[in-house]
Amino acid sequence: MRVLRSILLFVITLLLIFLLNRKTGDIPPLGKLLSPFSGFWQNNEDHNIDSEQLNIPGLKAKVIVRLDDNLVPHIFANNNHDLYFIQGYIHAKYRLWQMEFQTYAAAGRISEIIGEKAVDYDRQQRRFGMVYGAENTLKAMLADSLSAEAVNAYTEGVNVWIEALAEKDFPIEYKLLDYKPEPWTPLKCALLLKYMTYDLAGFSNDFFLTNILKTYGQPAIDSLFPSTPLNNNPIIPSGTSWGFLPLPLPVAPKNSIVNVPDIPYNHPPNPDNGSNNWAVSGRKTASGSAILCGDPHLGLNLPSLWFQIQLVSPDCNVTGVSLPGTPSVIIGFNEHIAWSETNVDADVLDWYSIKFKDSSRNEYYHDNQWKTTIKKIDTIKIRGGSAEIDTIIFTEQGPIVGTMDRKPLREFIPTGYAMKWLGHEPTQELRAFLELNRAKNYSEFVNALKYFQCPAQNFVYADVDNNIAIWVNGKFPLKWKNQGKFLLDGTDPANEWQGWIPHNQNPHVINPARGFVSSANQSPADSTYPYYLNWEFETFTRGYRINERLEEMNSINRDSMRLLQGDVKNIIAENVLPVLMENLNISTRPSEEQQIIEALRSWNFLAVSESIEQTFFDLWWREIQALIWDDEFGSKNMRYPDTEVSMNTVMKNVNRKWIDNTTTDEIESLQDIINQSFYLTMDSLNKSYGSDWKQWKWYQTKATRINHLLRIPTFSHSDVKTGGGRLMVNATASDHGPSWRMIVELNDEPLGYGIYPGGQSGNPGSYYYDNMLDSWAMGLQKELVVLHSPSEPNNHIVASITFNQ
């Protein structure tokens, strides 16, 4: 009896410990998590930062890091090895979980952390060739002595932090998901850069466009999906002389477009990845010095995408934002120059139909012969389950991403096609950043850009000698016009990329007559540019508004630039709303609707946070586009024409054939559509936000949120009060927007201002997790502290860390 009791008590003890020490489903290990010795309590971090002295083996000399009141590190090293070593250490200290998680996401390894439910995602990442591309890029990195030094030192630094990390000090996400950090590798740096490439240049419309072409024919493509924008306000001002002799273009083979099988898809792509940047010459500024501005629009998350930093070594003194997981500064300024990027959206991703000999897919027909495919066996490890083995088939063009048995998650990926992507090639972006960080003048800037290949970016430039410039920069395949607008026949090599546009023939301009340069992802050049980069770029509105304002502005200072970054004028509404009002049949409306119509009529088109007009117009415009296009293009295999085409359709009352709703017997006119959509909008807003229309405030209906990467609500911020929106200069949409805003005055000593929606620490238990969010939402910026020596007194400095060898 007593023996039994004793055994029972021991069994219960063991069982209890076992259960409390492991993750069960989504419930974290409660014993570990709630223990104040190891659990979440330890992640409560003090607001005050203490100074430290550390001994770090592996350093060549002493390194001093000074921390300012926003927790921005200013790293002073005696050589570049130590500089990037400590950058790695500091990134890991504040952002370890995020940087590691993103490399898992890039490489398709999320199943190792969260189990079965991520397998489809992981398989797609692997078949997309993310690891393949990162491995190629790593080879290029390690073959280049500067990049190799930086990436190896960075890796050492991250690992010194990880090795010394006690379990109680693990970032909270490790504790909730119950796993441990693994050693960092140079491959992870490459994966992180590929993840950005995937985000910015990992999308294509080829599949949708091919379906549209097959269904509605070439005239529909010409009128609704044109290859030149209707309102062309290009990045390089029209009339700029190119000054080079272009290479001959390849000739399009006949019948390059292929039949497409019908494939289901999931959800439309996110069209919000855009950015603004511009620079104004001293001629237009109050101080006489050039001013450079940049705000990359990306997914808004916590921990923040960016990490502010100053990096100082004997040949480098650069301040700006870095990407945790990568050495160097990505957007910023040094003592001589400032630069910022926006995405080009060049077409560097094409799909080739593959004719296999038989179902074994061992051979495919290419260039009049049967060739052997390469099969790579890939193992997806799954937490709490057995691994999944996947075979990825490669042809000369690239990997087959979607197959009938394994349909991809992303809707634009056609089944059975090989993917040709510049992201798979060995590229040298890290070298470009290392050189940019040290560039002293325009020619060194251009030299750095030669290394930057993918994802192509519009690099805006300004220097202390009052030069301004912009380069539409990347490695661009030499294509015939519209090559890759549609899916391509993979049996004929004539459909493949035939060469490259020489770097010095990338569209660029220095010191243009108008006194400013700008880009907002719009069309890079007018029709005189001899090469084809893509058929569609971002809708003209942001670029148009920026150019309109910069044209008329003079005596510019940093505050007027800050206001321009926060500009919320709705250009679409300005153009379209008068036409809508003309066509609206108002006599029969109830008085409440009359009030809204009155408000819209007197609206100044500013999408400020409290605007009710913007809420109404935004939905109304979406309803109009749905009524015009959805009956023809709402199919899962297609997409709508660009907003610009919708604007043209409404303003000029063209495309009447498409306006008619084919699902009804009547022939709808534009006026019918406008009136129907008004009812629908009214109805929908009433249902969603109540009948008191004064409550339909834009910031509430837009509901901007900054989500934690794991979508954990308690680590996220919802209902951030901001104005602006998609296709406006202040492009703050629901979860996309200005992920970093920067203004640099290129005085003799450049002065920078900047902010991002979050904070330097990745720890939700730290004051510095989100301390800049409110200022960001209000459109404010903070001075970017620049130190010239490790001992320089500065009111903003609160602590320092000394690293001894």
């Binding site: 003890t13 104040p36 659990g39 607001h47 954990i712 939700p764 730290s766 004051y767």
Partner: protein, 123 residues
Amino acid sequence: MILLLFILLAICTFIWQLFLPWWSICLVTIPLAFIFGRNFRHVVLSAIFSCGIVWFILALCLNEVNGSLMTSRIAVLFSAPSNLWLFIGCFVIAGLTGGISAAAGFSLRRLYGSNKPKVAFKN
């Protein structure tokens, strides 16, 4: 010295957990209950309160570091009505683990049929 076991448990589990995982509680409670236990009630109550209070007080101290920034977020994560529930949860987990393991330790002594503490103190 009825509190002796309580005090010893509190000190030892505290030190132990600085170096070992949270479940090392039982590595302390089992032998101490075996040596110093008087009866099940004494052993279980001493262990529940010593282990529970050590966790509770340390949690309280760590919570003060920044005005319960992380504590509040975790309370929301668990849909707890207030932060207090996390402190209670903390007490319960440590108390439960300590109490049951201590009872197990003491039950071993009962196998030998002895009711008296291995080390005797006069009250």
